[in-house]
């Protein structure tokens, strides 16, 4: 709870600090706020005392704290990584960072809600600032398109969600997760409830960008600025999965036989559509968009097989997978920011590894981790998710491994491009700030050793 309040207040302070027209000051305030929120979260967890504990709408249990803390860390990394593009326009430097902070408040609510009311509010607080941020570059027509597209599809999915919530309320007579679960357990589930769950699920798949609700994501990803794309594919996904877990593996767990087959199909489709579409992409952000669809497919494997695990472990598996995925994405986002290329062609990555050998190393680590090559963290993420699912669904895991084989092709071609000698020798160096080095170094070190030192929670 402290974290939420801290972030909200920091957001407002950031807006006021922005009047001074000093982006650095905005960055410092935001960083302090984010670190403060993280510390607050840790303190609450360690001491076990929560602020406003009598308020039942939000429940920061250990799972929520796990997902919230990584959301805060990744937002901090993204603010540092994209500090220059975010503050390029001095008039709006404060707005952009403040919007990110407000959106993060929504992410925190999404991880900790206990009733549909808070869930809905969290989802909206998470989404609305990002609609604006997607169109951050006002002169860019693609950016405006992305913003509008994201807003329209997002608003539509919100409508579907509300509709679903209404049906569930009709079936169970409550908004509270706990009471809904009781109602499902005590009464035979009605078709009213099934329709509600289906609609809620559809809107979820919309938010995390799973097939068949994935069409918005390549366009929106490729139109948005790199940093915002990074935010969409890390923090929003983490928050989305946290909420998905809370709703489906707890509240709707008694009717698992109804939603499980759907998610299995969605998972397989997401993997295939994501990986096969990514092969032919020529733009980096579109490639990342399709690869993120594929990764959503892998992650959903852990959701469908949650009942095979000892209590709570599947949370950790999903968290670990998304953590590894997000770290690699942030490295790519940071390098993309450094290349600073509006066209966003993969061609323009040619030779970045030659310009600076460290960048070459970072590119190798990031993409191999996404592909799941050991000993990087991405491999252990796949390991956790796949071993969890293999007992019950060996064929699906076989398909997922086949997909990892497809995926290595396009990841490898990017690596090869980055290491290749550029056709035209350019003397211009990559412009990388100290903060970006810190971000990349942190991510790479965690990816390299994370598989061996991160203790099992």
């Amino acid at each position: 709870m402290i974290a939420l309040i801290t972030l909200f207040i920091t957001g407002i302070i950031t807006l006021f600090v922005a009047f001074l027209r000093k982006p650095v000051l905005v960055g410092i305030v935001a960083s302090i706020g984010l670190v403060g929120a993280f510390v607050g979260l840790a303190c609450e967890y360690i001491s076990g005392i929560t602020l406003f504990s009598e308020y039942g709408g939000l429940d920061f249990n250990s799972t929520a704290i796990l997902f919230s803390s990584v959301s805060i860390i990744f937002t901090l990394l993204l603010v540092w990584s994209g500090f220059k593009p975010l503050t390029e326009n001095k008039e709006h430097a404060g707005d952009h960072i403040a919007l990110l902070l407000f959106s993060l408040c929504g992410a925190l609510i999404m991880t900790a809600f206990t009733d549909f009311f808070m869930f809905f509010i969290g989802l909206e607080i998470l989404s609305i600032p990002v609609y604006a941020l997607a169109g951050m570059k006002k002169a860019d027509s693609l950016g405006s398109e992305a913003s509008l597209k994201y807003f329209l599809t997002g608003a539509f999915s919100t409508g579907v969600l509300l509709f679903g919530i209404a049906w569930i309320y009709g079936a169970t007579g409550s908004f509270s997760m706990f009471e809904i679960q009781n109602a499902i357990l005590n009464n035979p589930p009605s078709s009213l409830l099934y329709v509600g769950i289906l609609l809620v699920l559809a809107s979820f798949l919309f938010k995390i960008g799973a097939v068949p609700y994935h069409f918005w994501s390549p366009d929106v990803y490729s139109g948005s600025p790199m940093t915002i794309m990074g935010y969409m594919s890390t923090v929003i996904k983490i928050a989305g999965f946290a909420a998905l877990l809370r709703l489906f593996t707890e509240t709707f767990a008694p009717v698992i036989e109804m939603w499980q087959p759907i998610i299995i199909v969605v998972s397989i489709l997401s993997m295939f559509v994501g990986n096969l579409s990514a092969i032919k992409q020529t733009r980096m952000r579109r490639l990342l968009a399709f690869s993120s669809i594929a990764h959503v497919g892998y992650t959903l494997l852990a959701v469908i097989s949650f009942d095979t695990q000892a209590s709570g472990l599947y949370y950790y598996n999903i968290y670990y997978y998304l953590f590894a995925y997000a770290l690699a994405t942030i490295i790519i986002v940071t390098i993309g920011n450094a290349i600073n290329d509006d066209e966003d062609l993969i061609e323009n990555w040619t030779g970045v590894g030659r310009k600076n050998p460290f960048i070459g190393f970072f590119v190798i680590v990031a993409f191999l981790s996404l592909a799941g090559v050991p000993p990087l963290m991405g491999f252990f993420g796949k390991y956790l998710v796949f071993t969890q699912a293999i007992g019950e669904y060996p064929i699906v895991v076989g398909l997922a491994l086949l997909n990892s084989g497809i995926a290595i092709y396009y990841y490898l071609s990017v690596i090869i491009k980055a290491l290749k000698k550029p056709a035209v020798e350019t003397s211009e160096k990559l412009n990388i700030s100290v903060l970006q080095w810190v971000v990349m170094a942190f991510c790479v070190i965690v990816l390299l050793i994370g598989g061996f030192v991160l203790p099992l929670a």
Partner: protein
Amino acid sequence: MELLILPLVFSLVSLVIPKNARKLVALLGALTSIVFAVVHWANFQPDSFMELYANDGNLFKMSFRIGYDGLSLAMVLLTNIVTFLILLGNYENPTASNRLFNSMVFLMQFALLGSFLSFDLILFYIFWEMALIPVFLLAYWFGEKDRKKVLITFFLYTFIGSLAMLFSIFYIGSLSSSYDHEVLVSIEMDVKTAWIVAFGFLVAFGVKMPLFPFHTWQAPTYTKSPMAGTMLLSALMLKMALYGVLRWLLPLTPEAYHCYKYLVIILGAIGVVYGAIIAIKQDDLKKVFAYASLSHVGLIAAGLMIVSIDAFSGVVIQMVNHALVAVGLFLVADVIERRLGRRNISELGGIAVRAPKFAFWFTVIGFASISIPFSSGFIGEFLLIKEILLDNIWLGILVGTNLVFGCVYVFRAYQLSMNGKKSSFEFNDLTLSEIITFAVLALIIVVLGVYPQLLFDLVKPSLDTIVSIIKDSSI
């Protein structure tokens, strides 16, 4: 533990030392690891297991057990010696003072040692995959032109093969409480489960060896890689697969052993004949030796499936022999290419007159590769062919043709390149570092050919264990 860590340290160190010292430091590094391995060998009791590290922290069900028995130690010695010889043979090349080159060779050595020392399946997989990256980068940075497509094929091929193994690993892991070698060996499976698990392993090992239908990546990759890359691939990386069969496939899935026994023997036999026939017709020296390697490995793979102590001893000594001969043969190709800029047999000829020392050492390595008596190859091929003959006479005759075909392609390559009319081109004779490389190779081959007990004493207890595991459960 220093056995494993040392190459990693040298891999990092070689990135920072100044240019003129790089060659020497790399050689010294490789020499140090040999010394460490020999010290371990001297203190080793053949029938014991030496544990270097273990951590039962229950992280990912891994035990992180690193250690060695006789078989692993033999492979470690082989890896360290061959790495040293690769660096020594490469001493005259400009790549020898490239920091990335040395770094990648040591990283490769680290990954190989790791996979030989791992007694935890996930750890084995980690090192197995890790070995792919340095050899890919070596070939990518220092290889010949038009290599990109070939290398992507190579990476995809082996990576997808490994994913099949990963599936098996996850599958067997879901039946077990830990990925530790002992725990996995003690699992009882029904034939169907064992077959599913074995299939994944077979695909991965078959691609890496390579066995007959999975061999298409081999010749192009060997040709496009730089010399050191080719040597690492053929001398060491494929030993990982053969070692993997001995250490993991056979002990883990003895229940399905009778299902895949003849499958592998027949594929191996096809590889023997097929590789040899193609090798006879090749013009590119590197390709001749690449297909020769396919042929030799086919024999080893077939021998792996005969469960007896003689066959396994033959496999181990033939693994060592193949590694040494591969280094020798590819060095021959590189010596010619370095001096003339080409290695097509049809454009060579008459080198023996210009370079008598080179001709001598080529002959020695050539004889070793066709396994004449007093070379280690003789012991290995004799044991393998004998055991396959005893199992099935027709298959034995088929793989026995290896000896005949071997003579044909090696002598053809030798005759057309070294003999003939006096050449029109200059050819400088071998330098000191190259002579030392050849001499060390020849020395080890002859010592093992005269006194193979040296190796057999080391590996026999581990092989006995493997034989007894399979015998116990398949009856």
